[in-house]
Symmetry: none
Subunit: 412 residues, 2 copies
C-alpha cells in the first residue's frame, strides 16, 4: 500500500507552523509497512485542494489529510472530499452531543458554526476525537482510502494511534504481523550508541534496529515482521539480548515510558512519598510529576526557591551555608533535600540547585547543577552534573538527571 | 510570483525529521510578497523527483528545492534538475577550493565523492555555503526560476537569507512592501472570534485578516500590501481598529509575545515581586516563569502544595478552612495567595487550587479551578474558572488563566 500525506491549511503555506503532522504519520506508517512517497501541503483553497486530491489518487492508494476540520469557513477538507466522493454530509450524533456538552460545561456561548464540526461524510467510519471537537473519518471509494484527521497535533496523534491505525491495518492485503519495541536509554549519546551497535545495525534486515536521538535520550526501535505474533516476539527478544550486551547499562525502560514514569512506578510499589526543593528547575520537577494521574499518594509537595531568600525562608537553609559555599554547592543541595523532606515528613527529598544559564552563577559556568537526595532511611548525598545546553534544555535535563540518579539509588 | 517548495529526502518521508525548511522559506517568501501555493516532499528517487519538478512547473513560477546536494549517491537534486534544464554540470572552483581546504585543515581523509559537492549547473548563479560544503544555485530557464538549497537548516537558512533572497527580489516585477501584525487573544474561542469578525473577514482583500487557534489562544494575522511601508502600516492600524471594536476586550498582545511574557513585562516595569502557591498546577506556573531569562528579580519563589498536608505545613492554610470549605474553594485560594505572598514579603501572591482531572475532587467536577490573587496594596480576591480539557490541558490553561486575570488586575 502506498500513501500520500496531505496537509491542508494556509497557515502551513505562510510558515506559521511546521508540518510536524506529516512527520508523525510518516513514522507511524513506516512502522506498519505502508510506503509514503509524497507529502503535499495545500492551502484552504477549494480548487487547489480538489486538484491535490485528484493528483494524489494517481500516485497513492491511501490519502491521509490533516487539518481543515474545524468550525470556520476556511475549514473545508471534508466538504471537498465529500464532493469528490459524490457523497452527502450527515451529522454525527455522538460528536454533536459532545460539542453541545462542551459549551454547556464551560458556560461559553456556542455560535452556529460549531454544528459544522459534527458533520461527517456519509458512509465513513467516524474516528472519535478524545481531545477536541472535530471528529475524524475513514472512507473507502473505489480503489482508494481516505482518512481525515484534525490539524492540531494533540488531537491528531491520539486519534490516529487509537482509532485510525487499526482501520488501515484492516485494509492491508496480507496482514503481516508487525511487532515493535522501543528501548529507552539515558546518559549515552546517539553517536556512541550507534558506534556500539554498528555491527547489529549493519546486519539488520528483519528485525530492524533504528536508533533515534531526542531531548537528552536515545531510543532504539526494534521492528520485527513475521506471519505470527509469537514468532515476531521471539525475534524481538533475541535482538534485544544482543543490544543489551552492547549497551544494557544505559537502558532504563521500554516503549512509552519516561524516567519520571519509572521513578513513580518504584515509589508506588514501595509506598514511598517524596518532596522536592527546586531552585534552577523552578518547579519543573514537581510539575512534570503532577502531570501524571494518581501521583497524589506519592508527591506531597515542596518548594520553589528561586531566590536565596526563598531558600532560607521556605526551606531553612542556613545563611552560613550560602555565604560559605554558595547556592551552587553540594552543601546547599543536601540541606535543601534534607529540609524539604523533613518539613513534609516524606520518605525522600530531592533538590536542584545550579546555574541554568545563559550566564554563570557564583563563578560556576552555566550548566553546573547539584542534585541533592535525602532519605528517611539512608545517607543523604548530592551529585554534580555538568550540562551544555540552552537555559531550558539544562532545566529539562536536570529534571531527567534527578529522576535517573534517584532511580539508581532506589534500585541499589 | 507563485512559488512551490520541494523538500527532497527519504528521511522526510520516513518521518525521521520534520520539514522545518518549508516553514522557514514560506515565512520568508510571504515577507517579500511571493505566494506559496504548495509544499511537496519527495524521496531520493530520480523518477519521482523528475515528475515532481514537471508538476511544479505547471503550478508555480519559482521552484525552491531543499536537500539532496550532498556527497553521497542518493543526493541527486542538482543532477535531475540539470537534466530537466538540459544543461551540463561544471565544477565551481571556489567551492572546490573550499572543500579541499576543509579536509586539509581537519586532517580528515577526503573520499572521491566529495568533489561531487562542487559541481554546479552550468549558467546558474552560485549561492555560497558559509556553513557547509555544498553550494546552492539559482537558475532561470524559460518562464521558471529554480533555486537549490542544502537540506541542513543551519546551512540553508543563512544561504537563503544572505544570498538567495536578493536573487528572488531582483526578479520581482514590482517590489511590493508587505507588513504583517499578529494580534493575540485569550479567553475567546476561534469560532466566536470569527463570528464577531465575519464582516471584516468577508470584506478582506488587502489587508487580509486571518484567525488561527492554538493551545487555548486565538491569533489574528493582519497582512497589508502596499508600495511603501508607511502606507502599509497605516492600513494595518486601520484594520486593527476595526478588529479592536469587535473583540478588543480579549486582545492581550502582539506578535511573538505570550501571556506570561506580558505579565513579566508589567512586573519588571513596576519593579514588583511575585510568589506562588500551586496545588493542581504543581509548579507549572513557576516553572514557566523561570523559563524566561532574568526573571530572578521578579519571581521570589513559592510552594507546591499538592497535598492538603503541604497546604497546611508549607503555606499555613488553616485546617478549619480545608474542613469547612475544602481545598477547591475561594477561601483556600485566597489563604494560599495571601500566605505565600507574606512568607516571602512579595508584592503579589498567586495561587492555583482545583481539580485537574480526570476525576472530580471534593464533589467538584474536573476542570474546576480557583485562582487566588493577593496584593501588598489592595484587596485579595479569587476567580473561579471552569475548564473542559484533559488533565494536562487544564493545568496548562490554568497557568494561562492565572497570567490573564493577574494582567487584568494590574492593568486596572
Amino acid at each position: 500500500m502506498k500513501a500520500e500525506i496531505i496537509g491542508v491549511g494556509t497557515e502551513l503555506l505562510l510558515g506559521q507552523i511546521a508540518n510536524t503532522n506529516a512527520q508523525y504519520l510518516s513514522e507511524q506508517l513506516a512502522e506498519i509497512g505502508v510506503n509514503v512517497y509524497y507529502h503535499t501541503v495545500v492551502g484552504d483553497n477549494p480548487e487547489r485542494l480538489a486538484s491535490a486530491i485528484k493528483l494524489a489518487e494517481t500516485r497513492a492508494d491511501l490519502l491521509i489529510f490533516t487539518g481543515g476540520l474545524g468550525p470556520t469557513k476556511d475549514d473545508l477538507t471534508k466538504e471537498i472530499i465529500a464532493e469528490r466522493l459524490q457523497r452527502e454530509m450527515v451529522t454525527d450524533e455522538d460528536s454533536w452531543k459532545k460539542i453541545q456538552e462542551y459549551f454547556k460545561k464551560t458556560g461559553r456561548y456556542m455560535t452556529a458554526n460549531n454544528e459544522k464540526q459534527a458533520y461527517v461524510i456519509k458512509g465513513a467510519t467516524v474516528l472519535p476525537n478524545d481531545h477536541g471537537m472535530a471528529p475524524g473519518m475513514f472512507a473507502k471509494e473505489g480503489d482508494h482510502y481516505y482518512m481525515l484527521l484534525p490539524g492540531p497535533p494533540h488531537e491528531m496523534k491520539p486519534m490516529y494511534r487509537n482509532y485510525g491505525r487499526q482501520e488501515i491495518i484492516k485494509q492491508l492485503e496480507k496482514v503481516e504481523c508487525i511487532e515493535s519495541r522501543v528501548l529507552r536509554f539515558f546518559n549515552i549519546g546517539e553517536a556512541e550508541i550507534e558506534d556500539r551497535l554498528s555491527d547489529i545495525i549493519d546486519a539488520q534486515t528483519n528485525p530492524t534496529v533504528a536508533p533515534l536521538a531526542g531531548d537528552g535520550e536515545v531510543t532504539v526501535r526494534l521492528t520485527a515482521r513475521s506471519d505470527n505474533k509469537d514468532k515476531a516476539v521471539v525475534m524481538l527478544d533475541d535482538i534485544e539480548k544482543q543490544v543489551q550486551e552492547k549497551a544494557g547499562e544505559y537502558l532504563y525502560g521500554y516503549d512509552d515510558t519516561s524516567l519520571m514514569a519509572e521513578l513513580l512506578k518504584i515509589l508506588e510499589d514501595r509506598e514511598m512519598t517524596i518532596a522536592a526543593a527546586e531552585s534552577l528547575t523552578g518547579g519543573l520537577f514537581q510539575s512534570e510529576m503532577t502531570a501524571v494521574v494518581g501521583v497524589s499518594t506519592m508527591l506531597l509537595g515542596g518548594i520553589v526557591c528561586y531566590s536565596n531568600d526563598a531558600k532560607i525562608k521556605l526551606c531553612n537553609v542556613k545563611p552560613e551555608t550560602l555565604e560559605k559555599h554558595g547556592a551552587v554547592s553540594e552543601q546547599c543541595a543536601i540541606e535543601l533535600a534534607d529540609n524539604v523532606r523533613k518539613s513534609l515528613n516524606a520518605d525522600i527529598g530531592i533538590s536542584f540547585t545550579g546555574a541554568a544559564g545563559p550566564d554563570s552563577l557564583e563563578g560556576h559556568p552555566a550548566g553546573t547543577v547539584w542534585i541533592g537526595m535525602s532519605f528517611k532511611e539512608g545517607q543523604s548525598k548530592a551529585v554534580l552534573v555538568k550540562l551544555a545546553g540552552t537555559r531550558n534544555g539544562n532545566r529539562r535535563r536536570s529534571v531527567k538527571m534527578g529522576c535517573y540518579y534517584l532511580l539508581k539509588e532506589l534500585k541499589k
